[in-house]
């Protein structure tokens, strides 16, 4: 609070005279005073205040000169009530939403949710509504951290799918960036491959149209239901430069709306998309400081036993793969039961039987842009559904005869250790930045202003035995920084996956769709000097 009226410093017994206090309103008032008043306004009144006069407009821009994220969670069973609660919180301070993401339980209809959010935020804001397996974040009313994993209910209640109500909403103000929702459509006449190509082109075109660069800073990707996101991620991974982040939820139910002024010409509202990307691109015109995105991955699986090579592979119509395999270097063909037996031997000491996966290694030459093609190994995970005297049944497709794979199982201690590692990694964001900028004072220091978390639906309280472990890397390092999280059907992130000693000569391989992991996306801001 600025309070330096010149008169107060004088200790003289002044006589009555015309003072500067003779005024009729706020027009001639000291700007710091107006700053103080305007910074107390809720978002909607703040928007009105910015339209009052030129000087108020300038002051508003001063109040809101840094990027900002706001998020809140509500478990109210009625959608309008829940929305009222979260809006009450996230719009209680000055903010101009550049995007909105709502993660809801299956009890909230996505299109209806989308409509209500749009009514509140206006038609220029790109909005994504996605049905998640669980949500976490701070309660809109109590500010208490809440974690709800609806998967836990599913296990208890057998076949019946319970109805889950709840929402966590995040809005962001990112000056210097442009954000829009771009869908992946599949016309009936088109192959999935060409649909994905078109999608990647759309993302690049959008980026080119708003910035000098044909690549965006990053993409938040939300897959729809049964869409296989592996080829989408693979294609994006090839097409985008290394520093473009791509994170998201593989399986939800998504409704979205693109911003009006984007002029991107896509169908504006829809259910029919296979996936939706929220694309963050540099704005051509303004960049008052630098917004950076940071991605970290907490891994939750461990390898076990020998490596295998698939002997026969069949793909079912339901998107599962049936396979037999040989141990590497051996001739004998193993059926599903034999492989499961191997697993049981390896895991004999575990009390709780974990989730099982096969991790399939693929090595191929990749070229990105004008770079020379270089070999790279990637790993793709498939959950093991069951095994019998014929086959091992795994989810997903894309396996070929002769593929090499390794068995993996979920592991609580590995996940905990990995969370600690991520926490240390995140700590460095602010430290390193401030080290580089030793000359810039505190006002120029880099600060983390928000985060999004995508955790595997298998994690959460029932996996760790206590709540909020997945949020801990953020809570420990950045208390008070707004963030929200979802329990997803599959965590998307471009990341290297550690495979010490399992892959000849390589300590890590690339991976885009993860299992039992937790993906962190943090946003930091460095003001311009």
């Amino acid at each position: 609070m600025e309070k330096t009226p010149s008169s107060s410093t004088s200790r003289t017994k002044a006589k009555a005279k015309d003072s500067q206090m003779c005024f009729s309103g706020f027009d001639g008032m000291n700007e710091d005073l107006i700053f103080n008043v305007l910074s107390r306004l809720p978002a909607q009144s703040f928007a009105s205040a910015a339209c009052v006069s030129k000087s108020w407009n300038r002051t508003c821009n001063r109040v809101l000169c840094r990027p900002k994220l706001a998020s809140a969670l509500s478990l109210k069973p009625s959608l309008p009530d829940a929305l009222k609660e979260v809006f009450g919180k996230i719009l209680s301070e000055p903010i101009r939403p550049h995007f909105a993401i709502a993660n809801v339980g299956n009890g909230f209809e996505p299109l209806m949710t989308l409509r209500l959010i749009r009514k509140k935020l206006g038609c220029c804001v790109p909005i994504i509504v996605s049905v998640a397996n669980g949500i976490f974040g701070r309660d809109a009313l109590t500010n208490e951290l809440k974690e709800v994993n609806w998967n836990d209910l599913l296990n208890e209640m057998n076949d019946e799918v319970p109805i889950n109500e709840g929402i966590v909403m995040t809005i962001g103000f990112l000056p210097g960036l442009k954000v829009d929702a771009i869908p992946l459509f599949r016309q009936p006449t088109l192959s999935m491959k060409s649909a994905i190509d078109k999608f990647v082109t759309d993302v690049k075109e959008y980026s080119t149209s708003v910035s000098r660069c044909s690549f965006p800073l990053g993409i938040l990707l939300f897959g729809e239901g049964s869409t296989d996101m592996k080829p989408v991620m693979e294609k994006l991974d090839h097409a985008m430069p290394k520093d473009t982040f791509i994170v998201g939820d593989e399986r939800g139910r998504v409704a979205y709306r693109s911003g009006n002024d984007s002029g991107n010409g896509y169908a504006r509202t829809g259910y029919l998309a296979e996936a939706v990307a929220l694309v963050f691109a540099q704005d051509r015109d303004r960049s008052p400081g630098e917004i950076k995105f940071h991605v970290a991955l907490s891994n939750g699986v461990l390898p076990m036993g020998d490596k295998y090579k698939t002997a026969s592979v069949r793909t079912s119509n339901e998107g599962t793969t049936w396979l037999t395999a040989r141990r590497e270097g051996q001739q004998e063909i193993l059926d599903g039961q034999r492989i499961i037996d191997d697993v049981s031997n390896e895991l004999a000491n575990l009390i709780q039987f974990p989730d099982l996966y096969i991790g399939v290694f693929k090595r191929r030459k990749l070229s990105v842009g004008s770079e020379k093609p270089r070999p790279r190994t990637s790993i793709t995970f498939h959950g093991i559904e069951s095994g019998d005297e014929q086959y091992l049944y795994v989810d997903g497709v894309g396996l070929k005869t002769g593929d090499v794979f390794q068995l993996y199982h979920s592991d609580r201690n590995a996940a905990l250790a990995s969370c600690t590692r991520v926490s240390d990694e995140l700590k460095k964001i602010e430290l390193e930045a401030s080290f580089k900028n030793l000359n810039g004072g505190a006002s120029n220091a880099t600060c983390v202003f928000g985060g999004l978390i995508f955790a595997c639906g298998g994690r959460g309280e029932s996996f760790f035995g206590r709540p909020n472990v997945d949020s801990s890397p953020l809570l420990d390092n950045f208390p008070g920084v707004p963030f929200s999280g979802v329990f997803c059907g599959g965590e998307l992130a471009r990341a290297s996956f550690p495979v010490n000693g399992q892959c000849e000569g390589e300590s890590s391989v690339s991976s885009c769709v993860h299992v039992f992991s937790c993906v962190y996306l943090l946003m930091s801001y460095t003001p311009s000097q």
Partner: protein
């Protein structure tokens, strides 16, 4: 005047006389300085002037007298609750006329509590208002050109202007 004095007399900018107790004056640094001057000066005839008009000074003194016991001794939580309620009532007065003066006075007299309260009241006053209502109540001239106005409407589709 001796140091055992309990109240001092001050003049408003309109020349009216007001009494303020010593403990109440402690809420404001400038007032406190004046008080010391009066107490330790031999020249007792001169009455210090505060550059605040009478209407506003009445309110400022009312606020000081109410808040003085708590500020000087530190009071219980129930007192704090009671004081909060009192603040709300206090600001319910015909605030539009003198809110601006109170803001300026609180700023000038370095009264953080009152300044905070007045800023919040001004902000609360704006909630739910259209753009032109805000202009009217705060006496602000619209200096946007019609083109700029159009652009603002596009940028802030959620705002009602009229």
């Amino acid at each position: 005047m001796s140091s055992s004095v309990e109240a001092i007399t001050v003049l408003s900018s309109d020349g009216d006389e007001f009494k303020i107790t010593v403990s109440a004056a402690k809420l404001s640094k400038p007032l406190n300085w004046m008080l010391e001057d009066v107490c330790f000066s031999d020249d007792c005839d001169e009455v210090p002037t505060i550059e605040v008009n009478s209407k506003t000074l009445v309110k400022v003194i009312e606020y000081c007298e109410k808040h003085a016991p708590r500020a000087n001794s530190g009071a219980s939580d129930s007192d704090a609750e009671e004081l909060k309620k009192w603040d709300i009532e206090f600001m319910k007065m015909d605030v539009k006329d003198i809110l601006f003066h109170i803001l300026m006075a609180a700023n000038y007299l370095h009264m953080e509590g009152l300044y905070d309260l007045a800023c919040q009241t001004a902000a609360d006053l704006m909630k739910g208002m259209t753009v032109s209502q805000i202009r009217k109540i705060f006496h602000i001239k619209n200096d946007f050109s019609s083109e700029e106005q159009e652009q603002l409407r596009r940028q802030h589709p959620g705002c009602s202007f009229d």
